[in-house]
C-alpha cells in the first residue's frame, strides 16, 4: 500500500496550530445558527462588513474560506467537476467553482455531503456579494442566486485611488460613498430581518475588530527579526480569525496569543529554522490550499518565507479622529487606510501600490528572493505578475520565481515540476547571496 504523503503544512507557531479547531468552530457556529433558525449569509472576505452582520445577528459563512478548507482536505475535485458540468469554465475562480459545485451537490442530495469538511456549510438565507478584490465576485453570487430563491445584495467597496488624483481632495467623497454603502447594507438587513441595528453593539464590535487587526499587525512587525519567528505557511492559517471572524473575542485572544508567542521567540532568538540561510518573500498570489506542504519544501534548503505581500494580510494602524463616533465612518476610514497604505510611497516610487508593497517589504524584511504564485483561476492576483516582476527588477535585482498551480484545483498542480523549479530557484538565490545578495538597480 502506498503511503499517502502529507499535503498540509507543518506549522511552526504553537498558536497557529490551533487554527484547525478555530476554523471548524466557525463552520460549527454557522450550522448551529441554521439549525436554530437564525439567519445565515454567504459572504466574501475583504469587504469590511463583518461587524455589521454580527451586530445584526447574521451568521456569516465565507465561501472563499470554505473553498480553501475543501482544498486543504483534498475533497474539492467532485465539486469543481460538478460546477464545470453546469457549464462553468475550468479557469473560473476555484473558490467560486467549489462553492457552486458544493451547493448543487448538497441540494441534489437533500442533505450535507458525507465527506464535507467541518460538517459542511449551511444553505444561506441571503447572498452578500462584494466588489473588493476581484471583478468576478458580483457574477459569482448572481450565478449562485440561480440555485436559491433568496435575496442577493451587491455591496461596493472602494478601490485604490488612481495616482493622478488629489488624494486629499477625493478622500471625503470616497469616505462618504463608503458610509453610504454600509448604510445601504444595513437598510437591506433591517428590512429583510424586520429588526433595527443595535448601534451600541456595532460600535463595540468595530472597536474590538480594530484592536484585533492592530494586534495582528504588531505581531507581524516582529517577523523582521533575524531569524524570523514565523513563516508564511503559518500566516496563511493565521489569517482565518481576522478575515472570517473578525468581531469575535476569540479572534482578539488569538492575535494576543500570537503576539506573545512571537515576542517570546524574538526575545529568545528562536527562529522557524535553527539556521535561517535565506529569507524569502511571498510576493503575490493566494496560496495553493491543496498543497501547503510545498512551503515547507523551501525550508529543506534553509529558506524561510518571512513575510508576504499578498492581499491576505493585516490591515494597518490608523488613528480614529477625536469626535468620530459613527462606527460606519470608522469602518470606512479603516478601509480607506488599507487601500492607501502604499499609495504615497508608490507615487514617489514605482507608481504601483501593489509593487511598492513588495519593494518596501523586500527592504524592511531583508529579503533574498521572492516567489509569486501564478494561479490560472485567480486572475485578480495573477494578472500583471510578469509586469510586477519587470517593475521590481527595475528597482532591485533579486531572484523571483513563479510557482504555477491553483488556489483550490489540485488538477492544476504538478508536484515534481514545482519542486524542480524550487530547486533551481534556490540555487539562484544562493548564487545571488554569495555575490552579496540583492542589489538596488535604480534610485528608490
Amino acid at each position: 500500500m502506498v503511503e499517502k504523503s502529507k499535503t498540509t503544512a507543518v506549522h511552526s507557531s504553537e498558536t497557529v496550530r490551533k487554527i484547525r479547531f478555530f476554523s471548524r468552530n466557525i463552520h460549527d457556529k454557522a450550522n448551529k445558527a441554521k439549525a436554530e433558525g437564525r439567519p445565515v449569509a454567504y459572504c466574501m472576505g475583504g469587504c469590511a462588513y463583518h461587524e455589521i452582520l454580527e451586530a445584526m445577528g447574521v451568521t456569516s459563512v465565507y465561501t472563499e474560506h470554505y473553498g480553501g478548507v475543501c482544498a486543504a482536505y483534498r475533497v474539492s475535485e467532485p465539486y469543481l467537476i460538478r460546477a464545470e458540468s453546469e457549464g462553468y469554465a475550468n479557469n473560473l475562480c476555484g473558490y467560486c467553482r467549489n462553492t457552486i459545485g458544493f451547493d448543487i451537490v448538497r441540494q441534489e442530495l437533500g442533505h450535507m455531503p458525507e465527506d464535507a469538511p467541518d460538517g459542511g456549510i449551511p444553505a444561506p438565507d441571503m447572498l452578500l456579494s462584494c466588489s473588493a478584490g476581484c471583478d468576478h465576485r458580483y457574477k459569482w453570487y448572481q450565478a449562485t442566486g440561480r440555485y436559491w430563491d433568496i435575496p442577493t445584495f451587491s455591496f461596493d467597496v472602494m478601490q485604490i485611488p488612481p495616482f493622478d488624483t488629489d488624494i486629499k481632495a477625493i478622500k471625503p467623497y470616497v469616505m462618504k460613498y463608503q458610509v453610504e454603502q454600509f448604510q445601504r447594507l444595513i437598510d437591506f438587513l433591517e428590512k429583510l430581518l424586520g429588526k433595527k441595528m443595535d448601534w451600541d453593539r456595532l460600535a463595540y464590535l468595530v472597536k474590538r475588530g480594530n484592536e484585533s487587526l492592530w494586534t495582528w499587525y504588531s505581531a507581524y512587525l516582529l517577523r523582521k527579526h533575524h531569524p524570523s519567528p514565523m513563516p508564511s505557511e503559518d500566516h496563511f492559517s493565521a489569517i482565518v480569525p481576522a478575515v472570517f471572524d473578525l468581531a469575535s473575542r476569540e479572534t482578539l485572544a488569538f492575535y494576543r496569543e500570537l503576539y506573545g508567542e512571537l515576542q517570546f521567540k524574538v526575545d529568545h532568538n528562536k527562529g522557524v529554522l535553527d539556521q535561517e540561510k535565506y529569507r524569502l518573500l511571498w510576493a503575490g498570489g493566494l496560496p495553493p490550499w491543496h498543497t501547503m506542504a510545498i512551503i515547507n519544501y523551501f525550508e529543506t534548503f534553509g529558506a524561510v518565507f518571512v513575510m508576504e505581500a499578498s492581499d491576505y494580510g493585516p490591515w494597518p494602524f490608523f488613528d480614529v479622529p477625536k469626535g468620530m463616533t459613527n462606527p460606519l465612518e470608522i469602518l470606512a476610514l479603516r478601509t480607506w487606510c488599507q487601500r492607501v497604505e502604499y499609495w504615497e510611497d508608490a507615487k514617489k516610487g514605482c507608481g504601483h501600490s501593489r509593487v511598492q508593497r513588495i519593494l518596501n517589504r523586500i527592504e524592511e524584511y531583508d529579503i533574498d528572493g521572492c516567489m509569486m504564485h501564478l494561479t490560472r483561476s485567480c486572475r485578480y492576483q495573477s494578472l500583471g505578475q510578469i509586469h510586477f516582476n519587470n517593475l521590481i527588477q527595475k528597482y532591485v535585482n533579486i531572484p523571483l520565481m513563479f510557482m504555477e498551480s491553483d488556489i483550490v484545483d489540485v488538477r492544476d498542480y504538478n508536484e515534481a515540476d514545482t519542486k524542480r523549479r524550487v530547486d533551481a530557484f534556490m540555487e539562484t538565490v544562493d548564487s545571488f547571496k554569495r555575490k552579496g545578495g540583492r542589489q538596488a538597480t535604480a534610485r528608490r
Binding site: P399, L400, F402, E404, D423, A424, E427, T428
Partner: protein, 298 residues
Amino acid sequence: MTMVKAKRRVNKAPWALGIDIGSAYSKAVIVRKGNDEIFYHVVASRGDFRAATKKVTEEVLKKAGINFADIASIVATGVGAASVSFSSTQVSEISCVGRGAKYLFPSAGTVIDIGDQASRVIKVDREGRPISFVVSEKCAAGSGRFLQLIARVLQVDVSEIGELSLKAGQPVTFSTNCAVFAESETISRIAEGAKKEDILAGIHRALAAKIVAMVERVGLEKDLVIAGGGAKDIGLVRSIKEAIHVDPLVPPEPQIVGSLGAWLIASATNQPEVYRTETTKGDFARRMNSQETASDFD
C-alpha cells in the same frame, strides 16, 4: 561514439557520472579525466525510467571502459531522476542545462532548452548557475511534444521534420496556441491540401514564437545557446533565429547538455551547498553496496 572538447578542465575528482532521465529520452555522460573526452549514451525512456537508467548507465560505462565501482559521484536530473536509485543527489534540469551549456560554450549568457515535456529559458552567470529562468506553461504547445504530435499526424518521422520544413514555400499560419487544437487544425489543413513542409514550418514558427516570448521575459543575454532534443530540429532552430534575430550556438549533441551539467556537478568542483542531498555520504556508500543497486547491475 565520443565527443571531444577541451574548453577547460573541471574534472578534478575521480570518475563521476551525470544522468538525465527525461520523459522521452534518458542520457548519461562520463568525462575522462585528463583529456576532457566526453562519453555519452542516449536511450528512449519508453515510460520505464528504471530500465532506462540501467541501460543508459551500462552503455556509458562500457564506452568509458570503466566499472560502476569506479564511479565516485553521481548526479541525476530530469523528470525521472528519482528512479536513479544509486544517485546521491538530484538536481533540477535548469541547474544542469545551464552548467552544461556553459561548459560547452563559455560565452553562453542565455540557454534555451527544448525538452519533451517543457521548454526552459535560463539566463546564466559565469559559472553557468541560473540567474533567472522561465519554464513553459503546463501545456504541450510549448514543448518538443508538440512537434511529435504533429509529426504523427503528418506521418513523418520526427527526425525528418527539420529538413522537410526548410523546403516550405508558404508556411501555414496557425490560429491557435494549443497543441490539441493545432493537431485538429493540422488535419483541417491537410484536408485543404496544404503541403506537409508548409504545415511543419508553420508549427515551427508557432513554437518559436512561444519560446522567444519566454526569452523576452528573462531578457536575452548573448551568446544564445539552444539545447535539448528540440535543438536537433534544424527547422525549429532556424525559426527561433528568425524570430529573435540572433545566431544561436547549437552543440553537436544538444540532447546531452543536461546530463553533461549533471556530470559537472557530480565532479564536485562546483557543487553548491544549496543542493538538498537525499542521502548522506554514509547512506550513499550503503546504497552502493546494497542489494537493490547490485540487482540493477549484476
